[in-house]
Symmetry: D2
Subunit: 338 residues, 4 copies
């Protein structure tokens, strides 16, 4: 018995989920895809992977009895609304992050899903990366004793277009948000205070949009641990994604996946491949794992691995970090609506 | 325009190719699968991935006008015969290794494909592994100058059942055959002489079948290089697959892929994951790449990357190695029919 | 022509320098050692490595015409005074860090050496570690373009006795001081602002002395870069000493030296050795390099690699970090006397 | 109480041992050095490290009551003779490898030492390398069960002068001899049969001296294991020294020491340092360990770690390997005088 899925949005991330669901998640099938800009190319893509129905109207998906669950991969401003519509229609929900950038809207959406008794999983895909997951499993297992320090390094290979920066909400919202989720995941605890330093180093245009391209955010956690995240929007050697948890009895960390494991020894040194290029390469398997877990949770009525509150908290931390950067002081999470 | 493929054999390797072709090779579709032991389970598998037709009779596949090419994944003793039938029917051919263990039969099959003007690709999948391929590309590029030494280490995580050992033709035929292909690939040259030492160390039962479980084969190449392969049928830490080419200006080698890139530092040492378990894990992506290249070569009428002669030569080297082991002396390839 | 050295202090670090100077620095010879607690054991040590004279009175060293230069390895509170006496006597000076914990005293000592025209090198030994030095050379060479982020991780294998914590001046003065030097070295720039988070996690007794055992300090640099240091007083896997500089065109970092390069692959994972235990093991070669460079600078009248101002600035940064921790706000270096 | 040592030979290896004994082995002192070519430079070197006496006449050393033990670092053709003289004089003996290239001479020298009741340690320094030693300790501990395969890779950064090749006895005697010792050490077993392939690839001049520059020698061991050594006289990336023992329950191996542990990630890949350049760099600490163990064994009357038979067996294996190469067949060690 396969889970019948309606896909909302056929942009890059929508196509990624749709293709994976059809080809790599045996217990799922996409029965319809909706996109307001539905065109011949999208229809050809849908046909090529066996999605039988295409529409411009998301409401058709919510009304479709042949849809058990939805994947919300549409533009960010539609997420909360679509969650509420799907909840009302009794569909289980996978929603790409973020739910919204406005906290009351996020809470309203979460409440709608709760009230309707449908699943709501938020798309923090890095939790499903085999490297980060191993670090987290070890760190939170207790085998290494108490957690002391949580560290995350995250660098994109190249910056986004300025048109994106203009609307993205800034580095804490569009990039470090994943790392705010990651530190909660790794520590098994909530962030209580943050301090941010930021700089415009890679391209002066970031300053035009009141944004930075490089940032270091220190954190305090409810369990007593402290931590730090460093982000940079450019790293010409590829996507740099490393996490580390230092504990009482040891330290667990991960390295980047490399393009390959060959290495060349020459008179001028030893050469090896660089990290995989970007999130599509690095988190390819994690996306599939994320989709499989959602499908399995729905089919077997289990709690989802990344719930509504996991969608809310990173947004709050991002707000606190931005406030810290703006006001030049550490900011307690208590200062941000919860 | 997709390449329509008839799949011959629905055992482990047949299912692997079939599933990949349906889900991961966009330019291919499997239109029929034949297996003499076709049963409800196989049919369910075929249906689940959208193969529309199942049969017990391979001849239906050869006669099917809706089949452009065949994947021969049936038992080894049928390979040569199926190649000849497919050639006669004008179907392009992907054949799992080995074509046959008998040299005249191999040559007959190769000739049939050549005469019919159909493609014949042999399934030496390791050539498509991104690590080994990088080593080979560097070694044969000339960047490191002349090739001096070629080394291959290959260990299986656990030995096969004795029922397999009884019929497999021995370690040189069933296991080191891949490494004989690999040294030809890495060196870009032909093997001219071999010497084998072997031992029964993991399980005394290998001796019953005139086989060994551990072997070291030294090699000479036509280009002047020398080399060595070491094999062992058991390695409890997983599939050990490493190659190395030492050259005039440097050395290129690869490491194993690991299950993950996390590592734990503790008072008693640093712990990391072991190599991926076996060929299904390690060569998963290589199988897809192999299939894609075959499909692309057929669709665009390009020479296949692993042809008939590449199927023949490793069998000859295996024979020479066995002869060396039996007679306690180095054996020249000239002594083996070509 | 060897440089004749008077050694002040025959405790752990004094013996280390003395033994190295006698055995591993061919252009130096220790002609006298002074220690107020001079005893038979110290005399035996001196004799065993060929130091001809022992005394309890440091003033004998300053007055000794057979002394060209002094190594100040006595207790911290004597450093500034001994610098001034050595300067007055015209001896070149190597002084273990810190010069003093009081800024006016540090400045007075530096000025004395300058006025007397003698060399003054401060013992920040990590600059001479081959790994960190390579990172710094690459980062400041310009090959990687502009510096964006500087990171230092530093963890001791085990905490000091509480009797030391009581008088040490706290984690920023007794431990992170090395890292404050390191970030100046790696960035080639001055720190302009810091923010500190700290925690008592390894042992509640640190709180008694108004100290923390775990700290994360974010930094801003005059060249626009930002950075972070994380310290922890315990790491059961050994001395953890890693640095990283992320730049416009790449990132340069180092790994820990390990006890050995052997590794074991087993069914439960891959095991390798842990980092070298503590600073005596990790920085053994760096101490020798540091001593050689001092001796060479004196003999050839070249500027020392770590001068008086390099002794002063880390103390200022430590003060700013402590102030930040105490006051819960970022602190600009301008707030600290210079 | 220090061991008083007479040093025979003040060439490169003699100076190395002499300097280490004076500076790095606290329980030893060199009281005299003899070299038939003793000159002002050698005397200056001796004086600089505190050796009080120099002579051209080795017999003075044997007659010197102020000498407890000798280090034989003279030319190879004097080793056996000097062992016999030292034995007669009741001096304990450390002798650089090889004792001799002629088996009866080796046996005569060993017997002389045994009859005189003096220690005889042979200079196979690689056994004291911390990496190889760890591999051996794990492999022979039984923790990994039965030994299956022993592998050694050994490449020099650059070939020796042809004047050396002319007299050295060939690659098996002057280079692979260390690896023949290593496989005995790693396996804890004796070699029973060898097969050699060789080639002249780096410089055609090797052929003039009936030598090869690249060789692969397969081996059988008395404990049932099999093994392989590969040698090449050139490796522009530095001294390549890796060993591996594959066992029933796992595999233990080592990596090369690198010049440093820094690495640079850039758009074109990740760059790290190459292996340490040659044996003086790689085995620097091993030489000191070797000397310390000899001194300790003499002072405490313990068996030496590398005895006379350990000096004899690698010579026999080298002879067998040369015979195999010459005759194109595997050679049993039984064929060589023991």
């Amino acid at each position: 018995m396969k889970l019948k899925i309606g896909l909302l949005g056929a942009g890059r991330i929508g196509k990624l989920h749709g293709t994976n669901l059809q080809n790599a998640v045996p217990d799922a099938e996409v029965t319809v895809v909706a996109d307001p800009f539905m065109n011949a190319d999208m229809e050809a893509w849908a046909e090529s992977i066996g999605i039988p129905k295409c529409t411009k109207d998301a409401d058709e998906v919510f009304a479709d009895p042949d849809v058990d669950a939805v994947f919300i991969c549409s533009s960010t401003d539609t997420h909360a609304e679509f969650i509420m519509k799907a909840a009302k229609a009794g569909k289980d929900i996978f929603c790409e992050k973020p739910i919204h950038t406005d906290i009351p809207k996020i809470k309203e959406a979460i409440k709608a899903a709760e009230d309707a008794g449908v699943k709501l999983q938020v798309g923090f895909v890095r939790r499903f990366d085999r490297n980060h997951k191993t670090v987290r499993d070890v760190a939170t297992s207790g085998d290494l004793g108490k957690i002391y320090v949580v560290k995350v390094t995250s660098r994109d290979p190249e910056g986004p277009p300025m048109s994106y920066v203009e609307v993205s909400g800034g580095i804490f919202n569009d990039m470090m948000i994943h790392d705010f989720d990651m530190v909660r995941y790794l520590s098994g605890s909530e962030v209580t205070e943050v301090h941010a330093f930021g700089a415009v180093l890679t391209d002066p245009d970031y300053a035009k949009y009141d944004d930075v391209d490089t940032a270091i955010v220190s954190l305090k956690f409810a369990n007593g641990a402290i931590g730090v995240i460093d982000n940079c929007r450019t790293a010409p050697y590829g996507y740099d994604q490393r996490v580390e948890v230092h504990c009482e009895k040891g330290c667990v960390q991960d390295r980047n996946d490399l393009e390959n494991e060959a290495f060349i020894s020459r008179g001028d040194g030893v050469f090896s491949a660089k990290p995989t290029w970007f999130f599509l390469e690095r988190y390819n398997d994690a996306f599939i794992e994320e989709e499989k877990e959602f499908v399995e949770c729905v089919l077997n009525d289990k709690p989802v691995p990344v719930g509504g509150n996991d969608g809310l908290q990173p947004v709050r931390i991002a707000m606190a970090a931005k406030k810290s950067l703006d006001e030049g002081r550490p900011v307690k999470l208590d200062e941000i609506e919860n």
